[in-house]
Symmetry: C2
Subunit: 226 residues, 2 copies
């Protein structure tokens, strides 16, 4: 479970930008949350704070009962690498590695044996419809193919928390549907999922929608009629 | 007007990938065409060939009555810089320039005076809702903000042909609507527009939808009931 308390993230470049401007939120274990809001409203920034990819300016973040600020670097790194899977809005694949290399890399960091890494990477990529692109480099892929590799990579270490920032933004509806079906399966298996999307019909696959605007939460809309 | 005749683009990396596999298409002057199709079906590749950003493996491309292959380098460069505006699926902004710098750069190449460059850039960026981000660098922007800068940049030299690859993919529906309204205006002013999208409701703003699959055109769907 994750508890976000009065989190802020401020940038100062000339003017002051309040990217996240006081966000409090409870993310129960095993829940499926969608995040929507206008461009620039702080969705990606909030996700990066929750994913321990960035430090807040103020406020508190508690993950599995432990205040993130109090964690030793080693423990933070372990959490990020082992427990959290992050799908970036702009994919952030390693340009010099192939599709297979990109997906096996996080497993290497967790000490997974070579044979198992390959098996798991091939399985995830097959699920993403990418089996015929295993040896391509990112610049030899289409936009939606890169997005699918980014998703496979995020799932490589079977994280307990999946944070996906616009995971279907570059996918046609059929391929996007495949991804959402996979997420629904993972959710049923017990994953905690947060996904940012600007498409309402994608958000409606979650249990609730957090609506953001100007760095704050405007409303949390419950979707599952009990 | 643009005439595409039996265009192909083939990549060979281990196996042979027919990214564009024999496409023939007429793009009348002043028309508004949407392109849809599954991830990896060749949409971006086709757009890059039409935008003279890449050379086909075979086939012929005629722009304004002139075979592109027969053009001198200087003439190709002039066409690309002056006549064609391209919005990339992954934005491709210059990381070291500010928002303003990114939008004024193409005008600099066309010898536009400094004062006019600034005026035009500010006008386009205001239209994109980006006036309060003029001095940010691309890595200080949200995904949708980068997309809007990429759109403003493509329009900087008032191109006669606008090629937009997933221009609303990272935008919330309201901001996306703003962009589509601008495109409709430009179309009314005489621009020729081609846009790739995976969202049907975006495609329906065009006069017709070109449906691609496996590097070929499956169908051209007319939208404007005469
Ligand atoms: N440099 C390259 N080398 C090898 N294959 C490539 C290269 N560039 C693209 N491809 C392949 O060509 C095919 C078409 O790519 P393209 O980018 O045109 O697809 P797309 O329709 O735009 O897809 P998307 O909707 O995912 O953006 C893809 O399957 C891709 O893997
Ligand atoms: N490094 C930075 N320096 C200054 N401002 C920044 C920086 N990074 C982000 N911002 C600003 O913070 C705001 C929130 O950014 P964020 O990426 O979280 O938005 P978002 O909701 O994900 O938007 P989108 O839907 O367009 O992806 C934006 O207005 C952006 O300009
Ligand atoms: Mg974002
Ligand atoms: Mg594409």
């Amino acid at each position: 479970a994750i508890e976000v308390e009065r989190l802020t993230k401020t940038y100062t470049i000339g003017t002051t930008v309040h990217a996240v401007d006081g966000v409090s939120l409870n993310v129960p274990h095993g829940s499926f949350t969608a995040v929507m809001g206008p461009s620039g409203s702080g969705k990606s920034t909030l996700m990066q704070l929750i994913g321990l990819l960035d430090a807040p300016t103020s406020g508190r973040l508690t993950v599995n009962g432990r205040d993130v600020e109090g964690l030793a670097d080693e423990e933070r790194t372990r959490l990020r690498g082992k427990e959290i899977g992050f799908v970036f809005q702009s994919f952030n694949l390693m340009p010099k590695l192939t599709v297979l290399g990109n997906v096996t890399l996080p497993m290497q960091f967790q000490g997974v044996a070579a044979r198992e890494r390959l098996r798991r990477a091939e399985e995830l990529l097959a699920r993403m419809g990418m089996s015929d692109r295993l040896h391509h480099k990112p610049n030899q892929l289409s936009g939606g193919e890169r997005q699918r590799v980014a998703i496979a990579r995020a799932l490589a270490n079977e994280p307990t928390l999946l944070l996906a920032d616009e995971p279907t933004g570059n996918l046609d509806s059929r391929t996007g549907e495949e991804v959402l079906r996979l997420f629904a399966e993972l959710h049923a298996q017990g994953y905690t999922i947060m996904l940012v999307t600007h498409e309402r019909r994608v958000a409606e696959r979650a249990e609730r929608i957090v609506h953001m605007e100007d760095g704050r939460i405007q409303e949390i809309e419950a979707l599952t009629a009990a």
